[in-house]
């Protein structure tokens, strides 16, 4: 499978601050990859390296087999401004037309605007658009050149639920058509809904890399919630949170824990068993408390 983008031991520092610390990552063709990490983790820096906006301080970054800082390497790349930084005095059709002018076979403006729910706004100056419309236009221009690889940095920040789902649909349509996507997001739900592969970055390093199921499996698979006066020690429980009489337990085998609970005869109530979510895995991987658990992650493919 062709590798469209690659980072090899890429490190980037801004003065004394190390934003990215020896990150290696391959983006194969056709993959929908979600980059997860808290603010300042280095996600945006990684995308900026891949898009040729910045040079790695050390290590290498490749786009379509070469240096992304060479303009022609970016012909099959689509990207989006992180903030809604569109030129306020230009009209919607002018912005789309301008970006389209850089590509050989652009999507016709009308078609693109329709796909992103912007029909009828073509003559509006972008400064007069609502926040959500600006965001959608900013994402839309990433697709105007019919790219093979799209880098989406926080694409749905500031969108309402409906607009977010519409945008997800557009990304899915593109991906089903063979497109490759690297997506960063604050919304775990978004990454969970879209990404085939998840890379968790924190403090400039890759903490985990795998499918949704694999990332989830980095934390105990089940969570039990219950109320009880006092719990004795239970075998097979990895972690316990207690707030008054409310307990949260994480375990790989919830059935065994429930059987133990029953045998102890403790008067517990309101038992709930659920699958640990991506959010829990994410928090465990990136929260300071979760870091000592890093050896469990070190075994992950990088």
């Amino acid at each position: 499978m062709a590798i469209l983008a690659r980072a090899v031991q890429a490190t980037r520092s801004y003065g004394p601050v190390i934003a990215l610390d020896g990150v290696s990552l391959d983006v194969p063709a056709g993959q929908l990859l979600g980059l997860l990490g808290p603010n300042g983790a280095g996600k945006s820096t990684l995308l900026q390296l891949l898009a040729g906006l910045r040079r790695p301080t050390s290590g290498t970054v490749e786009l379509f087999g070469g240096d992304p800082r060479q303009a022609w390497r970016r012909r099959r790349l689509g990207s989006t401004p992180q903030e809604t930084g569109l030129p306020p005095t230009l009209r919607v059709q002018e912005v789309v037309g301008f970006v389209a002018g850089h590509f050989d076979h652009p999507v016709p403006t009308g078609e693109l605007l329709e796909q992103f729910g912007l029909t009828g706004l073509d003559r509006r100056q972008t400064g007069g658009l609502s926040g959500g419309q600006k965001r959608r236009l900013a994402v839309a221009v990433a697709f105007v050149g019919r790219p093979d690889l799209v880098l989406l940095d926080e694409p749905t920040t500031g969108l309402d639920v409906e607009a977010r789902h519409a945008l997800w649909d557009a990304v899915r349509v593109y991906h089903r058509g063979g497109g490759t996507v690297v997506l960063t997001s604050h919304y775990l739900e978004e990454v969970e809904a879209l990404a085939e592969r998840i890379v968790v970055i924190d403090q400039g390093r890759v903490r985990a890399d795998g499918t949704l199921a694999e990332i989830r499996s980095l934390v105990p698979a089940r969570r039990l919630r219950l109320r009880a006066p006092d719990l004795p020690g239970l075998a097979g429980v990895d972690r316990i949170n207690r707030h008054g009489d409310r307990y949260e337990l994480w375990t790989a085998d919830s059935d065994a824990v429930v059987r133990q609970l029953v045998r102890t005869g403790i008067p517990f109530a309101d038992l709930e068993v659920s699958t640990a979510s991506l959010e829990e895995a994410f928090l465990a991987l990136t929260s300071p408390a979760g870091r000592p658990a890093a050896p469990a992650v070190a075994g992950m493919p990088r």
Binding site: L53, L86, T89, L90
Partner: protein
């Protein structure tokens, strides 16, 4: 990138930059009107406005001033402002190299220079004795372009190496000293010897001498071409260096 692509992309960037700038007319009008107003208030009422050579010289000097202010503000401050916007970072992810973007800027600046020269030339023509025979028109335009080269490259160097605030401060603190010491506001014949020696080393003075000579037929000092070429090489190298190291705004 083929040459045809390059030309097409240059046109595209020039057109969009022009549209973007012209939609905030007040920013344009300020730069455009200063030289014309200077001519109107400081030259037209003077007795030498009736002297063709003196009036033509004064107009030529202000024309160089126009070129300089567009270079320092449109290129210097304008580029620094653009670089601070996320849109500019976005443009650098498009499959377009530096040349079409820089050439687009160059053309855009030329368009604004032409717009600011229009009222200047009209006032000079209607209200002073300044003359420019058709035979000298092309020569004068070429001299203005040559005079603009180091100023253009200087503007680009400022724009790509500084934040907006720093660029604004530098542009403002360069504008008047370079204009005054370069003989764009007062004729250099009135300078004391020491000031004239400094003046001869400045890019604005070299540009001024070249344009005045092209417009009036006055002689050009031998050092002019060297000064202009030297400054063009220096500012040009600075501009290339500043552009290459630029990664958009940087935060620490």
């Amino acid at each position: 990138m083929s040459a045809a692509d390059g030309v097409r992309l240059t046109g595209l960037h020039a057109r969009y930059q022009f549209t973007e700038t012209i939609r905030v007319p007040i920013a344009v009008i300020g730069t455009m009107l200063f030289p014309s107003l200077s001519l109107l208030f400081f030259v037209v009422p003077q007795s030498f406005a009736a002297d063709p050579a003196a009036a033509t010289t004064a107009t030529a000097q202000l024309a160089v001033f126009s070129v300089m202010s567009v270079c320092l503000f449109n290129y210097g401050v304008g580029v620094a402002e653009d670089r601070a916007l996320p849109w500019d970072s976005y443009l650098r992810t498009l499959p377009v190299g530096p040349s079409p973007r820089l050439l687009g800027r160059l053309i855009n600046g030329l368009a604004f220079i032409a717009l600011s020269l229009l009222p200047l030339v009209l006032i000079a023509w209607l209200l002073t004795a300044a003359t420019l025979p058709p035979s000298r028109l092309v020569l004068t335009a070429a001299a203005l372009l040559a005079a603009g080269l180091p100023l253009f490259a200087g503007g680009i160097s400022i724009g790509y190496s500084m934040s907006t605030k720093a660029a604004l401060a530098v542009a403002n603190s360069l504008l008047l000293p370079l204009a005054f010491a370069g003989g764009l506001l007062l004729p250099p014949e009135t300078f004391p010897g020491w000031l004239n020696s400094i003046s001869m080393c400045l890019p604005t003075r070299a540009g001024r001498d070249l344009v005045v000579s092209a417009a009036t037929g006055a002689g050009v000092p031998g050092s002019t071409v060297f000064a202009l070429a030297g400054w063009t090489v220096i500012t040009g190298s600075l501009a290339v260096w500043a552009y290459r190291r630029d990664e958009g705004r940087r935060f620490r």
